[in-house]
């Protein structure tokens, strides 16, 4: 048993962490959410330069050919820094094409996604908690009509992977109209899109490919949630060490101490769960659906609670716009709801467990 990171993985995460410390400090995140008109293009370019979009894509497409755990570690860090970049939609788009695309489709799109010369995204939701393949109503024939909801960065994207009753389908920019939603989480834009007799290219019908894409999405959200939740614990803890009341740091009061301990208790063990889910995706595919659903449910619940607890730990200051707390609270709301709420993933996990 060797359930730990390799030296290379530690090195890569260290590199990425220093990049984010430099290029994604809270002031920069605040700038983006105050502008509220998209993502941090410069930061995204640096992640592209580092090879993030191609991490799991084949070497012959310019990718690094690594595994889900590697990508999830990146997602954890982006969550930790609340990075305002179009990571989620972009990597899922590439992954979907890798999983279900024809060789031609792969050759056409993957190198461009790896190099960042185009931006990809995925359209999964259809509203009212319809997120999953067996719930999709949108129908793709020669043409595609209908709407998808809550699509990340749809206005900026060049290529969209759309979930349809016929499986995944590719639509190019210009074939949809997008309506900007006022997303709660301003670090990741959401738009509703409408297709009207759009040109569309169906991917191969590989049902387990579609499922694996959903599992990947769940795992990346779980990893983001773990990173964000850990940061909430750290922010609240750091504050408790500095802030004084009645002549001593508030972190020396047992009441707050136990609350912080409970926060950490509800977050830290989640690391093993998301690692496991990522690991099953790579190594034990039969268990990946269940593990991914459990990770998404557990971590996203833990994140939202940790974010709430953190706001309370900060007192009034944590409720202000200028403070970082709400950035995490709102990102936690995104992770919690996008792709379906925890309870839905728990029921899915129960079914996959054969209960």
């Amino acid at each position: 048993m060797n359930f730990l990171l390799s030296d290379e993985q530690v090195m890569v995460t260290d590199t990425l962490r220093s990049l984010l410390r430099d290029a994604c400090d809270p002031r920069q995140v605040h700038d983006i959410i105050d502008r509220h008109d998209g993502f941090d293009a410069e930061l995204w370019q640096r992640l592209v330069d580092l090879g993030v979009p191609g991490l799991m894509l084949p070497a012959e497409m310019g990718g690094a050919g690594l595994e889900m755990i590697d990508l999830a570690l990146v997602a954890e860090l982006l969550g930790e820094f609340a990075a305002p970049v179009p990571f989620l939609g972009h990597v899922l788009c590439g992954l979907g094409i890798r999983l279900c695309g024809t060789p031609d489709q792969q050759a056409r799109w993957l190198p461009a996604l790896v190099s960042g010369s185009i931006l990809g995204t995925v359209a999964l939701g259809e509203g009212e908690e319809c997120w999953l393949p067996d719930e999709w109503q949108v129908t793709a024939g020669d043409r595609l009509s209908g709407g998808k909801r809550l699509v990340p960065n749809a206005m900026a994207a060049d290529l969209m992977l759309v979930g349809t009753r016929q499986g995944l389908a590719l639509v190019e920019k210009g074939n949809w109209t997008a309506r900007r939603r006022e997303g709660v989480d301003r670090t990741r834009s959401l738009e509703d899109v409408t297709f009207h007799e759009a040109s569309v290219a169906l991917l191969d019908r590989v049902p387990e490919g579609v499922t694996r894409l959903i599992d990947a999405a769940a795992i990346l959200l779980a990893a983001d949630a773990f990173g964000g939740a850990s940061r909430c614990v750290a922010l609240a803890t750091d504050y408790a060490k500095l802030r004084e009341q009645f002549g001593q740091p508030i972190g020396s009061f047992q009441g707050l101490k136990h609350q912080l301990a409970n926060m950490a208790l509800s977050v830290e063990p989640g690391r093993g769960l998301y690692w496991y889910a990522a690991h099953t995706w790579d190594a034990l595919p039969g268990k990946a659906g269940h593990a991914a659903a459990q990770a998404k449910a557990h971590l996203c619940d833990a994140y939202l609670q940790a974010a709430r607890d953190m706001v309370e730990a900060f007192g009034g200051i944590g409720f202000t716009w200028e403070h970082d707390a709400h950035i995490y609270l709102k990102r936690a709301m995104f992770d919690w709801a996008w792709l379906g709420s925890p309870v839905r993933h728990r029921l899915r996990a129960a079914q996959l467990a054969g209960w």
């Binding site: 709660v184 009341q245 939202l304 706001v311 007192g315 709301m333 709801a337």
Partner: protein, 389 residues
């Protein structure tokens, strides 16, 4: 045991209802007209419904304390959708303080226009670094000739950007022990030495402000009580805050909203309110709300009859905070996809989901409330700390 208000009170209710019907809405139907609103409030004061605790000579209606009547008035005003009594900090905190500690000149000068809404007040207690621990506040005032010269910063001052004046705690006796160096000053906010910066909240709205004093000035006799008495004055003022039913109507309206939300949203292909998980949690929340409501009724009944309601009186505040958190959580579960966007049909629930967090912060953190329950309610010993006797 009698849960209704009794015959005498029901007669009072009928009288109030008749009075309101005669005065509201205004004849021209324009319920937004400021002059009409003001006229209505003046009429209510003249009738003895508003400003009940304030003597007539300062513009009040000087009625004997009666929380049941007060509640009936609130209920009937709400039912008629008429302009409610103004309940800002100037009225709930400053006026009682002036009545107890102020000079006659201060009362004459400030109470009546405050009641009428001509003077709006901001509270200036909290500072960065002095939230729950007011004794450590650092804004200072120095008496120079006939004026106090004030320097420092206040925070969490509600609606200071719309206020005319502030009642503030400031350090005037730097040499005195911490608690004894604080005085209670009244300050005109509309002067060059004052800068007010509204704090944008995470809901993207602004209620609280930072207020900066840079050689701001206030007349020497705008001090309430003596020098160094500010701490004592504040403690008695806070003690004046009495058990009231107003928190309950907030809880009740949240709960009714939550039930409506559960009817509107869907879960597993059925109305969410029919889903056993949602249904059971909704009922559990209702029970918690009922427990709070009827324990408050009991506490008020006892207070009215001169009895001590005991343990519950230490916990009413945190009990409603806990309830708000639980409501927020179920709302989150009901919202599902709608939790992602601020422009959806349930925006107000997104705000409430966040605002429920500020409840445990506002007016003392929940941890301080828990200390109060444990020490004052349960009689547990105070913690011995280093450096204390």
């Amino acid at each position: 045991m009698e849960l209704g208000f009794g015959a005498a009170y029901e007669a009072f209710r009928a009288e109030v209802r008749t009075f309101i019907a005669a005065h509201w809405p205004p004849a021209d139907g324009n319920v937004k007209d400021p002059a009409a609103i003001r006229a209505f409030r003046d009429a209510c004061t003249a009738q003895g419904y508003y400003a009940r605790a304030v003597p007539r000579r300062y513009g009040g209606s000087e009625q004997p304390a009666d929380i049941v009547k007060a509640e009936i008035i609130r209920e009937e005003i709400r039912r008629a959708d008429a302009p409610a009594e103004v309940r800002d900090g100037g009225i709930t905190l400053l006026i009682p303080t002036l009545l107890e500690w102020g000079t006659e000149a201060q009362r004459q000068r400030f109470i009546s226009p405050t009641l009428k809404g001509d003077y709006r007040w901001a509270q200036g207690f909290s500072e960065p670094g002095a939230g729950s621990d007011l004794a450590s506040l650092r804004t200072r005032a120095v008496l120079v000739d006939d004026h106090w010269v004030i320097n420092g910063q206040k925070i969490w001052s509600s609606y200071a950007h719309r206020a005319h004046y502030m009642f503030a705690l400031v350090r005037t006796e730097p040499e005195a022990p911490k608690h004894e160096g604080i005085s209670y000053l009244l300050i005109d906010l509309r002067q060059p030495g004052v800068t007010i910066r509204p704090l944008r909240q995470m809901t993207d709205q602004s209620e609280f402000c930072e207020v900066f004093f840079d050689d701001a000035r206030t007349p020497a006799d705008w001090i309430v009580g003596g020098r160094g008495q500010g701490w004592r004055i504040t403690r008695t003022t806070l003690k004046h805050e009495r058990g009231s039913l107003s928190g309950l109507s907030w809880t009740d309206s949240m709960l009714r909203g939550l039930i409506r939300l559960a009817r509107e949203m869907r879960r597993d292909g059925q109305p969410a309110i029919d889903h056993p998980t949602i249904r059971a949690e909704l009922a559990a929340i209702e029970a918690q709300s009922m427990a709070l409501t009827y324990s408050t009724y009991r506490a008020i009944s006892m207070t009215v009859h001169g009895q001590e309601p005991g343990l519950f009186s230490t916990m009413a505040k945190i009990a409603s905070t806990d309830l708000a958190q639980r409501i927020a959580k179920l709302a989150r579960d009901l919202l599902a996809d709608d939790l992602l966007v601020m422009d959806g049909p349930q925006r107000k629930w997104i705000d409430r989901f966040m605002i429920s967090l500020s409840m445990s912060i506002a007016g003392g953190t929940s941890n301080i409330q828990r200390n109060i329950i444990a020490e004052r309610g349960l009689g547990l010993p105070r913690e011995q700390r280093a450096g204390e006797a």
